[in-house]
């Protein structure tokens, strides 16, 4: 995936999230928005690596690490799930079919994993 396209998807995702949850501006401010955009670049980098290695586990392990880092900084798992769902949608029109299908499957498995760990926590 081209760098410009990744940047565009990361920015669109951050905008969508902050439009859907305007209270995030109060909670995390401009810095939070920038972090969300950067985090989405990391998500896309890891999706690309997983695709390059043909190994979805790379993205699933990253997801578990990400959940630990973000939930300890008051970003709840539901917000990560919401983020990944938006990425599935935003990948749709822009990315080449084989790569897109692989990445969407990674994201779906990661969402299932996060929902599972949410259940365990009683969330």
């Amino acid at each position: 995936m081209k760098q410009d396209l990744k940047k565009q998807i990361a920015k669109s995702t951050a905008i969508q999230i902050y439009e859907a949850y305007p209270t995030l501006w109060d909670r995390f401010g401009e810095r939070g928005f920038d972090h969300t955009e950067k985090d989405n670049m990391h998500h896309l980098d890891h999706l690309e690596t997983a695709y390059g290695l043909n190994d979805r586990q790379v993205f699933l392990e990253y997801t578990l690490w990400l959940e630990k880092v973000l939930t300890s900084r008051n970003v709840e798992s539901d917000l990560i799930i919401d983020n990944f769902e938006r990425l599935i949608g935003l990948l749709d029109a822009e990315v080449e079919l084989k790569e897109r299908e692989f990445m969407q499957q990674c994201l779906q498995e990661a969402i299932d994993l996060l929902k599972g760990s949410n259940l365990k926590k009683g969330g």
Binding site: L53, Q57, V58, W65, S72, R73
Partner: protein
């Protein structure tokens, strides 16, 4: 004997003197490889986990890394005359990789085993690494990466190093090397070491570690 979490606490306090005293006491009855594998690496992994869970800040983590760096530098074996007959190793991290304590431990272990080391540090651009290798002609190039998403970059580095006319051995370590997908690096011709124990075994015997992933499939 001090435990890794206790040493991590000294690092986080910025207590360089006491950290060094404790490490030197450990070295009275252990070698450097054991110090790195059993004490310093677990201490630094513990600090990484404290950051992951937001127990410490980035500033705390950087302070702890600086103290660990100080300790590793102080105990490094230096100062002996360089003979042309000694084997040579070039140690580096690929572009984008900022972690470097592991590279310093690897350098120290090679020195302890009487190699001449050129430590080029982390975040080393490939074209400059190639030029340095052509100029200095090391017997071995050692690479390390902490994050699994550096694997494609490592693969590209290995591919280029394999084209060097003097054909150095290429060793890869770091947390990324412990990941199952890292076996693609073996396919590129690299020797994968998952810890300093395996690295020292290779240094002393030239025997490569078993490819556990290949056996398990």
């Amino acid at each position: 004997m001090i435990q890794p979490t206790e040493l991590a606490e000294l690092f986080l306090q910025g207590n360089d003197r006491e950290a060094l005293v404790q490490v030197q006491q450990f070295l009275d009855s252990h070698n450097r490889k054991k110090l790195f594998d059993q004490l310093l690496t677990p201490a630094m992994y513990h600090i990484g986990e404290l950051w992951e869970t937001n127990t410490i800040s980035v500033a705390d983590e950087h302070l702890a890394t600086a103290i660990c760096d100080f300790v590793v530098s102080i105990i490094d074996k230096r100062g002996e005359e360089t003979h042309s007959s000694k084997r040579k190793v070039m140690v580096l991290g690929p572009e984008g990789e900022e972690h470097y304590i592991g590279l310093k431990m690897v350098s120290s272990l090679f020195r302890e085993n009487d190699w001449v080391v050129h430590y080029l540090g982390p975040n080393m651009p490939l074209d400059h690494a190639i030029k340095a290798a052509n100029r200095w002609q090391p017997d071995t190039i050692a690479l390390s990466a902490a994050l699994v998403y550096r694997l494609p970059t490592l693969k590209a580095y290995i591919k280029s190093f394999k084209e060097l006319a003097h054909a150095p051995a290429i060793i890869v370590g770091g947390r990324a090397a412990a990941f199952e997908s890292s076996r693609i690096l073996i396919d590129e011709g690299a020797i994968l070491v998952k810890d300093l124990e395996q690295l020292e075994h290779w240094i002393k015997t030239g025997e490569e570690p078993d490819d556990e992933y290949r056996i398990s499939i």
